[in-house]
């Protein structure tokens, strides 16, 4: 496929790898922010191709992972209601709450539907005027315009049977939280390409300057990630700390203005709790007051549910780049994608789930045989 295949070209990848080896002289820790980038890195074994001195650590950019357990439980209590059709992206269906997942609820008779686009909820609502159609609106800035359009259209068309359970999070506050942590190891970032397709990258510039870290907005294909890594290493080696754009075929500094405009008129900034990390001030969106008739949290009096994560789980430290999945004693034993204990195992884009999917839980058993693992189980 055009604009995909050429960015998976092994011949060019090798040139990039050689150039990274040539440029790097000191050890560096670089975080890829997005779960999609983590998945691509582990799938293609990109971290194994890099010089030993360059460590890629995996960031918090998986919205499914960081959706707090309390919110999952709220979703489940709404989805169990007989007067509700509960719509969600497929990623959320297997995420366990305190008592089962959305699949369990569906099997028990709940009307749970997977949608491709938030706009599908409008069609479902028109066909089912006697039911309340609730959409589980999760995501980062990338998904916010699509979810905002659902609220906007529902309001414009006066569709009172459409509502959103909003759990939206934002990338820059999470990066700031990582950089402010006394345990921080991250020296440079591969920035989130699709988030910046919407938001542009202006807001990353003060952060890069303040914390003196390079941030290279990077795409998702193997060549994008290698290119972003090369640009970051060049900056680190030269003592520069700037925002650069590797993904220029998709985005510019300003981002998508018309998407930003609609997001801004539907959502406002709010404090959000991140699973594994805790509450980060001003790190998400909630619906504006004008859209309260479409706010599922208001429509359904869902009690605040107190939940506890297993003490053994180190997902919080993994999300901040302090630890890796195989540092966890539960990884691949007590904790697996079938029975996840915490944030980074619940979605395919979580670091633990990606490590597991590509056979890295076997790595501990085959220590010192790194070379044979290049390419992994992909």
């Amino acid at each position: 496929m055009k604009y995909l295949d050429e960015y998976r070209d092994g011949r060019v990848a090798r040139k990039l790898v050689e150039e990274i080896h040539r440029v790097q002289t000191k050890p560096w820790v670089i975080m890829e922010v997005c779960g999609g980038q983590t998945h691509s890195i582990v799938k293609h074994g990109i971290d194994y191709l890099l010089p030993e001195g360059i460590e890629l650590v995996h960031g918090p950019g998986c919205p499914v992972c960081v959706t707090p357990l309390e919110m999952i439980d709220k979703a489940h209590s709404i989805a169990r209601r007989p007067d509700v059709i509960f719509c969600s992206f497929g990623d959320m269906l297997r995420v366990p709450g305190s008592d089962g997942d959305l699949f369990t609820i569906k099997s028990q008779g709940g009307d749970v539907r997977v949608v491709y686009s938030p706009l599908d909820c409008l069609k479902i609502a028109r066909a089912n005027p006697d039911k309340q159609v609730v959409f589980f609106a999760i995501g980062f800035e990338t998904t916010a315009p699509a979810n905002a359009m659902l609220a906007w259209r529902a309001q414009q068309e006066g569709m009172k049977n459409v509502s959103l359970l909003v759990s939206h999070v934002l990338v820059p506050p999470a990066i700031a939280a990582i950089l402010q942590s006394p345990l921080n190891r991250v020296q440079g970032f591969l920035g989130p390409g699709h988030v910046c397709a919407i938001m542009g990258y202006r807001e990353y510039e003060p952060m890069s300057a303040r914390f003196k870290v390079p941030i290279v907005i990077t795409g998702f294909e193997p060549l994008d990630i290698l290119h972003g890594t090369l640009m970051t290493v060049r900056q680190l080696e030269a003592g520069r700390a700037e925002v650069e754009n590797q993904y220029s075929r998709i985005l510019d500094r300003e981002g998508n203005r018309s998407a930003q405009k609609l997001v801004c008129s539907v959502f406002e900034i709010a404090d959000r709790k991140w699973r594994g990390i805790g509450t980060i001030p001003k790190s998400g969106y909630k619906l504006r007051w004008e859209f309260r008739e479409h706010d599922a949290e208001r429509l359904f009096d869902v009690k605040e549910i107190d939940t506890r994560e297993p003490a053994i789980c180190i997902s919080g430290q993994i999300l901040k780049g302090i630890k890796k999945p195989h540092d966890c004693p539960a990884f691949g034993t007590l904790c697996s994608p079938q029975r996840p204990l915490g944030a980074t195992m619940v979605s395919a884009e979580g670091a633990c789930a990606a490590y597991y999917a590509y056979g890295r839980h076997l790595k501990a058993e085959r220590e010192n045989s790194t070379a044979s693992l290049v390419g992994g189980a992909a």
Partner: protein, 93 residues
């Protein structure tokens, strides 16, 4: 979750006042909303996320970046010898 895929706009149409398109991804055609990329024409490539085109692919930039990567080894050859170890590790793939 932030997965977005580039595809070619093969048809544009209006649906309840919204600008929509049929977008081709390899052998698959799906509908996508064009409201956020109003300047898009049939034949353009757009990046689609959860049924919304969020960006138009800049063909000139795509070409420029790819050329830059293609020419990397010329820089490498000018600057330093290729690291043998990498070639060896890469061959094991």
């Amino acid at each position: 979750m932030c997965l977005a895929i580039p595809g070619k706009v093969v048809e544009a149409f209006d649906q309840r006042g919204m600008r929509m398109a049929k977008v081709q991804f390899g052998g698959i055609v799906r509908e996508a909303c064009l409201e956020y990329v109003p300047e898009t024409q049939v034949g353009d490539y757009v990046l689609v996320h959860v049924g919304f085109a969020i960006s138009r692919v800049d063909e000139a930039e795509a070409h420029r970046t790819y050329q830059l990567l293609e020419e990397l080894d010329q820089l490498t050859e000018l600057n330093a010898p290729v690291v043998d170890e990498i070639a060896t590790r890469g061959d094991k793939q």
